[in-house]
Symmetry: C2
Subunit: 284 residues, 2 copies
DNA sequence: CGAAGAGTTGAAGCTCGTCAATAATCGTGG
DNA sequence: CCACGATTATTGACGAGCTTCAACTCTTCG
């Protein structure tokens, strides 16, 4: 039942799996370049500059905190390998997870403005990060407008993801939330090429993280996941995620995927100059 | 009630009311300048450029839609007077409100990147807006780095507010959500000087908006508000908001206010260069 | 005045949280 | 290698918070 699904990706059609690893195939490629490459075409010069920017690397262990609320730093971290999580605690001990950082993601945009962080970021896995000096990053942005533009786009994308999460947490029920989130995270993993040969994903999240992501309790998450399994939708166990029924899952979660801006050239769907439409309050 | 509004500034004006209206007092001041002025000190040249940018104005009516999902435009709207709301619908008819736009706020950052909007924005009141041609805006940003920086900050602030909302919707119960939101919106109104002489606020939101903001039903919002009233916390009726117990409300909602970045020079609270702290998973 | 929107109230029920106990799994050290 | 504690996952019983449905009132506005 679920091997059949799983093999779809790997066997016959590797297309979806790696369509974002254009030319180079050497494993220790720079994930930042790959990521920005999705938003703009980078020249050799620009790629070199980015490579130089990431030269200082560091290995860190599971559970370490990258940035802490209220801190300012003259460095920005770039995730090279591993997964980090961004979150805030409430005084009552509850935690809201605000995002997951995968390879290629920057530990925040405070390089854009003098601004301290309002949350923590820490590691869900052992990881390797690059430590970018902000002033160097700034110079690169100044020297290469394309790079700056691409960086701004990552920020806009990030915000789009936040809005999507708000929608998810605010308006959907537990099953839908989970379904949507699973679609999102697997999509991101896929765009990074991090799909196992059997079509599953290795995602280092426990049910605790899932719960704190969607404002649910662990108990309830557990029950939902079990039902997913029983229904043949998703098999998530031992941090191995296998999606058995992609269609069903997307439909349940109302997942669109456009907002992730992963290598999609947004078709200009509608072009009403500065016109303001007539009164219209979209009747639900 | 609406005219008395304008006199607030001049009359007996309590301190808190006008601490963000530095020098000029002519009523039709440019709200964009005032807003950016909170992030940076603008030169006369810069102010002129911004004024020129906003020269094309337009009056619009309640319920009109400023921007529509999926559209791209070569203009950006700036709210001069009135209130707009940003939202998305789910296919099941549920709506999540993603933000409120008050005078001085820009109808989005798609001027930064070639990027279509993933939501609608429409008016909760009659309003006056300025229509900024994106290419002009871009030139101004190029010519005046200070302005660009300030604009980026508004974007970062916007994102901080989104995170705060996510926390709110995800982790608090109905009363806390409401309390938090009321703190936020009143704070923003206050920073705009839009406080009535009696200390109340005129906020054009119905309970429907409140519900869609926090992922609750109108019925439940109604009950909560009534209890607030009974408890002497807040009196919100007929779009007139009076906060009776600021302390109590803030405590209930866990409201901090720092994230709004309203005229606060962020003290560099903590200065650990690029150091990575020791393992520490903050035990709740 | 009549219609439409906004707010209120009550009853009933479902989703999800809470509490608590048990398994399963993992990392660590003896 | 097995034993140990710690984390993670599962299960059941129970209850609370919030939703749903429906009726009714009040206000606004043409």
């Amino acid at each position: 039942m679920f091997t059949s699904e799983a093999t779809i990706e790997s066997s016959a059609a590797p297309v979806a799996t790696r369509c974002f690893v254009p030319i180079e195939t050497h494993p220790p490629a720079n994930p930042l370049i790959e990521k920005l490459g999705k938003f703009a075409t980078l020249s050799g010069q620009e790629r070199d500059a980015l490579d130089r920017l990431c030269r200082s690397r560091k290995k860190l262990g599971l559970g370490e905190t990258l940035v802490r609320e209220g801190c300012r730093s003259s460095f920005v971290f770039l995730i090279l390998k591993g997964v980090a999580v961004r979150y805030r605690y409430l005084s009552n001990g509850k935690r809201q997870i605000m995002g997951y950082l995968l390879p290629g993601d920057l530990c925040d945009a405070h390089f854009l403005v003098r601004n301290y962080l309002d949350h923590d970021i820490s590691l869900l896995t052992d990881a390797e990060v690059a430590v970018l000096p902000i002033h160097e990053l700034t110079s690169v942005m100044a020297a290469f407008p394309t790079v700056r533009q691409a960086l701004l786009e990552t920020m806009v994308t990030d915000r789009a993801m936040l809005r999507e999460w708000l929608l998810n947490v605010g308006q959907r029920n537990a099953r839908q939330k989970l379904a949507h989130f699973i679609c999102e995270i697997s999509q991101r993993m896929q765009s990074l090429g991090q799909v196992n040969p059997d079509g599953s994903y290795s995602i280092p999240l426990t049910q605790v993280e899932l719960a704190d992501t969607m404002g649910l309790t662990v108990v309830h998450v557990s029950r939902c996941l079990q039902r997913f399994r029983a229904e043949g939708l998703v098999y998530w166990s031992r941090q191995q995620l296998t999606i058995l029924d992609v269609q069903g899952l997307r439909q349940l979660g109302g997942f669109d995927q456009g907002y992730l801006h992963i290598g999609l050239e947004p078709a200009s769907r509608c072009g009403t100059g500065g016109e303001v439409g007539p009164r219209s309050l979209v009747a639900a």
